[in-house]
Structures are given as C-alpha cells and as structure tokens.
Amino acid sequence: MFLVKVQGLKTYFYKGKGILSKLFGKGLRIVHAVDDISFTIGKGETFGLVGESGCGKTTAGSSLLRLVEPVEGQIFFEGKEVLKMNEREIRKFRQKVQIIFQDPVTCLDPRIIAGEIIAEPFRIHSSKITKREIEDKVIQLLEWVNLSPEDAYKYPHEFSGGQVRRIGLARALALHPKFIVADEPTSGLDVSTAAMILNLMQDLQEKFNLTYLWISHNLNVVKHVCDKIAVMYLGKIVELGKTQDVCGNLLHPYSQALFSAIPTINFKNKRKKIILKGEVPSPINLPIGCRFGSRCKYNMLICSQEEPDLIDMGGGHLVACHLLVKR
C-alpha cells in the first residue's frame, strides 16, 4: 500500500510579473522548478530525492505539502487528492504531514524558548487541550529526541547545531504525523553529530512507523537510510528505483557521474571520477530534447530532438535515457 502518490507534478515559478518588468518589456519568464515528476512512497518507507542544488528537490518537497502551489498534477495522500482539498481539509492534512526545514536556525523563532516552539503545533491544531497536558507532551517530545526537560527553557541560540535539529524534529513529531518531509536533515553537521541524527531519525521511524521523504545532496547519507532513491536533474526524475538496484547498477549517465563524484575514504574502492563539463542549464530556457544532453558524453542526435521518457528496466528501476531504449 502506498501512502503518498505523486502523478505528473509540475511546479513553476513566474518571473517578471511585476510592474518594472512590464515597463521594461522583459516579459513573463517561467522557471520550470519541478517539471512532471511521478513517484509513489509506501507506508513506512524512506524515499530519497537527490540531485545538485537547483534541481528542484526542495520545491518538490514543499509542493507535496502545498506550501508551494503546483500548477499541474495530482498528489494522493492516503487515497485523498491533496490538490483538491479545501482550507479545512488542508489543516487536517497538515497534522498528518510535517516538514523539517533545511536551515534549522532560521526556522526557529529566536525570541521564543524551545518549549514554546514545540508547543506551538498543539496551540494551532488542537483547541481542547489544557496547559498542563501541553507541558507533559513537550517534556515527552524532548525525551524522544534525547534532550533533557530543562532544555525547554532555553532559547534557540543556546543550542548546538545537532540540538537545533532535534528541536526541529520534536516540533515535527508533536502531532504524531504519518509522513515527514526531511529537507537536508544532516547538512552542515560534523560527522559524528550527523550520525547521531541519522540514528535518531531511524529509531523514531521504527517507533512511530513514520514515512520519510528524504531530500539531500549527500549521497552517502541517502544510500545509507533510503529504501528507494530518485535522482533529479533540472526538475525531472532521471532515475528511480530501489536503493540496491540504483546504487548497484547505475544506468543514467548523470547518476553515474553524480555517484562517482562522492569522495570516499576506501582506497580499494577508489573509482575513476566522471567529471561533468559545463554547468546546469537555466530552468527558464530549457534545452530542447534531453535536459542533460549538453553535458552528456554519450550525446547522440536524438538527444537534442526528443525528451526521453522514464522506462522500466526491470523490477521498478526506471531510467529516462535514449541510450537504454532498445531499437
């Protein structure tokens, strides 16, 4: 059974709607942040979304929660269509779905103590709850993320990087969500702190049967925690499949380059790095044909004419590349 199903999701941003652009005649430009992606996430699964910065991972994550309104597509959560929900249903939906934002410090109010930050979801979503009950719940949440009850009276700046993440996690857990979008939960942390957060998130997943959408550019982390991986490039998914299938048998030239670039400490396993030429094209003026074509070493004629579709290479391992189409 799947918990989340995304079909043909498109999220665009419009640049040049303002008065100045109209005056100077720049016209409307469309940023294709997420351009037609589809995937499903099963209950209790961890789904990894990887790619370089600017490929649309974060936008995809926030579109799922309707923090950004998609322009097209369907999102199903527990069988209900999220994009057709009204205000009231959305509030209910957001109790079950939470997000941990990328930058933990900027998403915590610096003038509110940690206990209040964690108590906020209760104030917003459940009206019939006493002060006493909230207090108990906050203490329990702090325990779950391995912080002590005294930490409730500290301000965000008094915590270390790892502790701030724990507070973000406690706040996300407050209303017993079923699905958490974790946007770069370990970036900027030292290795041993990152390992602690990873362990904690896996423990919580087991304890509460959580489902994660894990957005990260750290491929080692994604390889370690995720059941399924989707590689994104310029708003599109280029490769998708079970972690073992994808990591064991990388098929798309972009995924090959991306995974070969991971720095490794293992001397026996040092792979030859595939160095990509050029830069990611602009998501405003998309190239015709395959989006990776201009940087791909296997570039063929068809690549600059037609955009490849995602094709199943067996066992749910989807790849979008003309190289792999049997002719």
């Binding site: 370089e52 290795v191 041993s192 896996q202 390889k223 380059a257 720095p263 400490i265 293992n266």
Partner: protein, 338 residues
C-alpha cells in the same frame, strides 16, 4: 624534494575573551615538503581554521600567537612586520582560498579589475613574468581563468562576482590564488558549500595545478572523504592538539587514535544499509573547560584511569605514523568496517 617548505614549531594560539584565555591551538608542530598536500581534519571548533589563519597571520584581533615559530623557507614569519607580510608573503609566497568565495570577492568590482589589480601590485608576479611584458594584464588574467576551467573567460571576465555560480566563483578564487604561483596554498574548506560534482571538479583542478607547478597545499576540511581524495599526508586535530598524523593511506587503512577511528566509523555509506552508525558520545569540549589529562578522554571508549591524569605524548608508532594516545599500540587492530 625533501626540503621543508613550511615548518611550524610548538605553535600556541590563544583567544582572549574578557578575562578568559582560551587555547585554540596547543603546541602544534608539523612541516610541509615541496609539492606535498597536507590534509587537516577535525570537527568544527577544533582549531583547523585558526591554524590556517595563524600561518597567514590573519587571526582576528582577539587571537594571539603566544608561542612558537612559523618558518617559511627558513624565515620566521612571526618576526616580519605587517608591511613585510603584505609585500612579500600574503598572496605572493602563500595564498589562501576561503570557504565562502562570495565573501572573499569584492562585490563592487568586476573580476577583471580585481585580478589586474593583484597583478599590478604583486612583485612576485612581476618577477615571474618579466619576459611577458608585451602581453596585456587582461589577457594574462583570461589565460589564468581558462586554466581553471571557466567557460568562455573572455566574456565572463567583465562580470561581477554575483553573476557567477558558487562553483565558478571558487574557480575565480583559485585563479586569483595562482596569479603569483605561490609555493604554498592554504585551502580552508574550499568545497564545503558546493555540490559533489562541482567538488570533484575543484579537487581535480587543485590536483592538476599541484602536479603542474609543484606547489604545496595545506588542505583544511571536515570532510574525511575529501581529505582522503586529495592529501598525501593527513593530520587529525582535536581540541587544539594534533592527535594523529600519518601518510594518507596508512591513516585511513589503519587509524591508531580512538578519535580517528570513531570519526571514520561514523561515516555513513561504509557500513551496512540502515544499520546503526557508531557515534562519539558528547561533543567537543569548550576551549576554556578542557578536561585534564588527554582532552579526548571523556568521549573515548578505551579510557583508563591514567588517561584522566596525564597528557599523552606525540609518539612515532610506526614509520611516519604519529599518535598522541597513552594506550597506543594496545588497542589492537581495528575490525575492518568496509
């Protein structure tokens, strides 16, 4: 080849905060040979960046080098005046690449202005290029940018820093650092803010330049993967002290200090899928409250009574493999985790 380019002896750096004095670096000694890449790794707050800044004598006002010597080409940098540092060392003999290229470039000047300015006032550059007087400085700047792999440098050189992406800015920084072809390059986390693919490019670029010009590099990073990719020799720092120093290969294959082991084991991607990662309990102690004895002892899984009392000496356990641990050699070989 075996001549020491840089030698740091018993360096102590202290920060003064109100009445508190904190030792950021405690008795650091090491040397770098010509053409060698020395990697420095450790958790945040262990003093990696202070070391880079101390060598350039760019420590913030609160920081002071209270002891030690920094010998560069047998000249003590600590005895030079500020003018001499500016004229002869900084950007000439030793160049530095910073973590955030956006903060290191001037936002109101074009790349061309910034590069040409350096060339005009850089004596070392002028000495090196005496026979190229007939080529304009701009053309030479373009040449340097091309060497770092910047796409169409003729066009881009008139751009302002904000018009470049993160990876491109870092390339510009590297091109600037290489203007005078400095014998020593200090790179302080130059790829931390970049994507893996760009990171691989920048690392390849630095390695190429090093192979070509035989520069030495002091590479500071918290990412052990990157350190192992680029370094010939590695130094691990914890709470201001060197805890282990060895050739890259022997350090990563056979780490001897418990801290190094713990760091390597906590890296994801080396163990089995979804398994629990070993972590280091606690965190780096604040510099004004360093524990007695070995500063790692409160977090060390192999701690014994003696570790709490006496400070370990830095000893050569195997040829060129130095470790500061009282229980060195008694830990047994590490069980391979990958």
């Amino acid at each position: 080849m075996n001549k020491k380019l840089l030698e740091v002896k018993n360096l102590v750096v202290e920060y003064r905060l109100g009445t508190k004095i904190m030792r950021a670096l405690d008795n650091i000694s090491f040397s770098i040979k010509k053409g060698e890449v020395l990697g420095i790794a450790g958790e945040s707050g262990c003093g990696k960046s202070s070391l880079g800044l101390a060598i350039m004598r760019l420590l913030p006002r609160a920081g002071k080098i209270s002891q030690g010597e920094i010998l560069f080409k047998e000249r003590n940098l600590l005895r030079l005046s500020e003018t001499e540092m500016n004229r002869e060392i900084r950007g000439r003999e030793i160049a530095m690449i910073f973590q955030n290229p956006l903060h290191a470039l001037n936002p109101v000047f074009t790349i061309e202005t910034q590069m040409v300015d350096i060339m005009r006032f850089n004596l070392r550059y002028q000495q090196l290029n005496i026979n190229k007087k007939n080529i304009s400085l701009k053309d030479r700047a373009i040449e340097l940018l091309r060497e770092t792999g910047l796409a169409d440098p003729e066009e881009r050189i008139t751009d302002y820093p904000f018009q470049f992406s993160g990876g491109m800015k870092q390339r510009v920084m590297i091109a600037m650092a290489f203007i005078s072809n400095p014998p020593l390059l200090i790179a302080d986390e130059p790829t931390t803010a970049l994507d893996v693919t760009i990171e691989a490019e920048i690392l390849a670029l630095i390695i190429n330049l090093v192979n070509k010009y035989k520069n030495s590099v002091l590479y500071i990073s918290h990412d052990l993967g990157v350190i192992s990719e680029i370094s010939d020799r590695v130094m691990i720092i914890y709470a201001g002290k060197i805890v282990e120093m060895a050739d890259s290969r022997s350090l990563f294959d056979d780490p001897r200090h418990p801290y190094t082991r713990a760091l390597l084991e906590s890296l994801p991607g080396t163990k089995t899928h979804k398994g629990r990662l070993p972590t280091i309990p606690g965190c780096v102690p604040p510099l004004d409250k360093l524990p007695k004895g070995c500063s790692f002892h409160p977090r060390c899984p192999f701690v014994e009574e003696i570790c709490k009392k006496s400070t370990p000496e830095f000893v050569e356990l195997a040829p060129n493999h130095w470790v500061a641990c009282l229980r060195e050699g008694k830990l047994g070989r590490r069980t391979k985790c990958f």
